[in-house]
Amino acid sequence: MFSFEAFWQILTTKLPVFMEGVGVTVQLALYTALFGSLVGVVVALMRLSRIRPLRWLSGVYIEFLRGTPLLVQVLIIYYGLPQLGIRLPRMTAGTVALVINSAAYMAEIVRSGIQAIDAGQSEASRSLGMTSAQTMLYIILPQAIKNILPAVGNEFVVIIKESSILYTIGIYELTYQANKLASTNFRYLETLMISALVYFVLTFTTSRLLGLLERRMRRGDR
């Protein structure tokens, strides 16, 4: 039976335990969103490059990272890489795994955003003497980013949720904390429901904030 009393009691007395987890989850999500976006833009530009090896390399990267489970990627980086002498601290390994995984998805989002911009934009910019790099930086990317904001927001939400996988390598994020707590109070349903609720608050806030940003950026055009 779900006991609301227990739910309330855990929520009020054990909130600091959850908050500790939230701190780690938010930290993971922020790093991943930031570096995943940056790497994603670079990979997207490689994908659209005129240099064939770069296109090929980025294509392999995207397909492989999207075509294999995140959990397996995490395990390879944390438990597999030490065999090659690459020993990353838990938190670093977890963040790296999330970043390279998310970057693959971001790359596809950015690529589609860039390709959706009318070719006339680039032609106008180049006809004014701007280089291809200037054109990308000042003309194409700002428009592309505005258009892909909903998809990027979606990816950020995915990052927050997927970060729970790092529980398997013992990172003290929200899911880990909730599970640990539940295994001591035996109130699995109530404790995990609280963690679900906390995740929801995080993801809902994120998508709301991005929606706000989207509306701000839409001012000036329609």
Binding site: D118, G120, Q121, E123, S127, G129, M130, P142, G220
Partner: protein, 249 residues
């Protein structure tokens, strides 16, 4: 930078060819455009007019021949193509204003990024140019807030802000509502009067007749006939020209 005196050859086109796959769009064009000249290109759609214009600043890469601009081969320019393009302004049928930038930013971005011009000077000049085309009050507006005619006038100003030696117009009034064609043509006329070298692809025969120093009639990827507006419109020699003019006039 080469400065070219009025009347001297500014652009020399030699045996220009372009094909898209099997489709031959330009089949060998030889042409010289002189400083201060207004050259109007007319012809049926699909005749290669726009492709010819776009080959001049290498928006299309020719598959044969060469374009010499101010003494430099456009084809061999490599990275210098950007420096050549700075001196060739282009105005597009679809305006291609940058929607995320205000009118003023649209005009100033290239001078500031390419020529590293000071913001204050650039903006001052941009405002003067805007005033000249009757859009002084639109500096802070965004392209989406402008009518087609206003957009195209901004696009002309944007190209002029780079102080080009020649302006290329690719059907600048074809996407406009009829009542807005006049305001854009007026700006082009005043540019022509000031001695700007212009190459204009257009369907506006009135403009060609009134402003053009020379009219080129293109069909099937070559220049079929050329001459002064009086010659081409008054007494066309080529049967294709006669046929085309009968249909459009």
């Amino acid at each position: 930078m080469a400065t070219v005196n009025k009347g001297e050859t500014l652009i020399e086109v030699k045996g220009l060819k372009k094909h898209f796959g099997k489709l031959q769009v330009l089949r060998g064009i030889d042409e010289q455009i002189h400083a201060g000249e207004v050259v109007v290109i007319i012809g049926p759609s699909g005749s290669g007019k726009s492709t010819f214009l776009r080959c001049l600043n290498l928006l299309e890469t020719p598959t044969g021949g060469d374009v010499i601009f101010e003494g430099e081969s456009v084809m061999k320019a490599g990275k210098n193509i950007n420096q050549l393009r700075e001196r060739m302004g282009m105005v597009f049928q679809q305006f291609n204003l940058f929607p995320h930038l205000s009118v003023l930013e649209n005009i100033c971005i290239a001078p500031m990024k390419v020529k590293k011009a000071q913001r204050a000077d650039t903006e001052l000049r941009a405002l003067k140019l805007l005033d000249r085309v009757g859009l002084g009050d639109k500096a802070k507006a965004y392209p989406a807030q402008l009518s087609g005619g206003q957009k195209q006038r901004v696009a002309i100003v944007r190209a002029l802000a780079m102080e080009p030696d020649v302006m290329l117009f690719d059907e600048p009034t074809s996407a406009l509502d009829p009542e807005m064609v006049g305001e854009v043509l007026d700006v082009m006329k005043s540019l022509a009067r000031e001695g700007m070298t212009m190459v204009v692809v257009t369907h506006e025969m009135g403009f060609a007749r009134e402003v053009g120093d020379r009219v080129l009639f293109m069909d099937e990827g070559i220049i079929m006939e050329q001459g002064t507006p009086e010659e081409v419109f008054g007494n066309p020699q080529n049967p294709r020209t006669q046929d085309f003019l009968r249909k459009v006039l």
